[in-house]
């Protein structure tokens, strides 16, 4: 990885920079295909085969098949592209937020509401 510059550390956050864009290219490209209903159907019919078709590495494939968002991010996934995968499973942003933060969907939604009361 390019390491000429020290990376800014922001808790609980990974900036989608050149290193991540390189690492996640195949995964994000597969997710970009999900703009097409035909591709979504093909994925649904056989997720593992579809991951292979797009050249995902083992880390990416495992993350996708287990539907673990934090693992997909660690494998270079970008939030906007991963959201298209989430859409296939009918997951909205509160489902995805709850999974990543280890709380129930109701707890996650309550946290958002609480942010407005501060």
């Amino acid at each position: 990885m390019s390491g000429s510059k020290q990376k800014r550390a922001i808790p609980g956050t990974t900036l989608f920079d050149g290193d991540m864009a390189r690492k996640g290219y195949a995964l994000n490209k597969m997710c970009f295909s999900f703009n097409s209903a035909d591709c979504r159907a093909e994925f649904k019919a056989d997720p593992a085969a579809y991951c292979d078709k797009w050249g995902l590495n083992e880390q990416q494939k495992k993350a996708v098949l287990s539907l673990q968002v934090l693992d997909m991010l660690a494998a270079g996934g970008n939030a906007y592209y991963l959201a298209k995968l989430g859409g296939i499973y009918g997951l909205d942003m509160q489902d995805i937020g709850a999974q990543q933060t280890g709380v129930t969907k109701d707890e996650f939604k309550a946290k958002l509401v609480a942010a407005g009361r501060k």
């Binding site: 922001i10 989608f16 994000n28 991010l73 970008n78 509401v113």
Partner: protein, 279 residues
């Protein structure tokens, strides 16, 4: 010469599209958001823009990571929406204004902003939903459009100062266009939100309210922050406030607030709306 009547900044959460499609505007969850718009629609009815220049970020509909321009300008006769993969309705096409597009392209490059030009361009929810909110149910939309994409997706992003200067250059371009058209500039996205990571759900009301206030009176205030600072302060997607700043840059002279609204949450987002008028 063309006249800029003002600028409007607004959030662009995809699920707004579903709420509109399902007529949920007066539902308890959505009401505080949708109730912000009538005063802005009234103002638009008074200032009567002919063209809207929309500054936004694409979310993987027109641009993939194979080619990711920092700044791109549409130059198409019409702009089509398409399936974005997350189940919101696809909206009818929007009419372009190729004369303004090419004038802007000429002027921006002369001004040393070497933008990407797009004679074909799909427009996603960040372009379509603000127009649906300002001119609800009007198809075709009553204004001609010019899309301007800013990369807020793949780092490095343009700095806040660069975005403000880009906005200023857009303003100069519009105001040097030999036309009697009235132009509204629209910036979409934000405010604070973060979709991914252990910090998902992050919102910063205090910063958002300060930003909305400063944007009218002292827009350079936010340029003190680096892009990573802005991510830390507003979230990985809160950094879309760069589109608001670009829009503000296009407004010169005395700028006053017409109407503002702020509500938490819409989906995972602190929603903001800010209309500004140029004297």
């Amino acid at each position: 010469m063309a006249k800029i009547v003002g600028g409007i900044n607004v959030t662009h959460v995809p699920y707004i599209g579903r709420a509109i499609a399902n007529n949920l505007q007066q539902d308890a969850y959505w009401k505080p958001f949708f109730d912000g718009f009538p005063p802005v629609r009234d103002w638009l009815a008074r200032v009567k823009p002919d063209v809207a220049v929309l500054i936004y970020n694409d979310h993987g509909l027109n641009f993939f990571l194979d080619k990711m321009p920092t700044f791109a300008v549409g130059a198409a006769p019409e702009y089509r929406n398409a399936d974005e993969g997350w189940g919101i309705p696809t909206l009818p096409p929007y009419i372009g204004d190729q004369d303004l597009s090419w004038h802007m392209i000429d002027s921006l490059v002369e001004d040393e902003f070497d933008i990407v030009t797009c004679q074909e361009m799909l427009v996603d929810h960040a372009f379509t939903l603000p127009l649906e909110l300002f001119w609800p149910g009007q198809h075709p939309c009553p204004v001609r459009t010019v899309p301007v994409c800013v990369n807020t997706v793949q780092f490095p992003l343009p700095t806040a100062a660069r975005c403000f200067k880009f906005g200023q250059a857009i303003g100069r371009a519009i105001e040097s266009w030999d036309s009697d058209a009235r132009v509204v500039v629209i910036g979409t996205g934000g405010l604070s939100h973060q979709l991914e990571g252990q910090r998902a759900g992050f919102i910063n009301k205090e910063f958002d309210l300060m930003f909305m206030d400063k944007l009218v009176t002292d827009p350079l205030w936010v340029t003190r922050y680096s892009v990573p600072d802005l991510v830390e302060l507003t979230g990985t997607q809160g950094v879309e406030l760069l589109n608001w700043l670009t829009c503000r840059g296009a407004l010169s002279g005395d700028v006053t607030k017409v109407h503002g609204n702020y509500h938490i949450p819409i989906s995972n987002t602190a929603s903001g709306l800010l209309a500004m008028q140029v004297a």
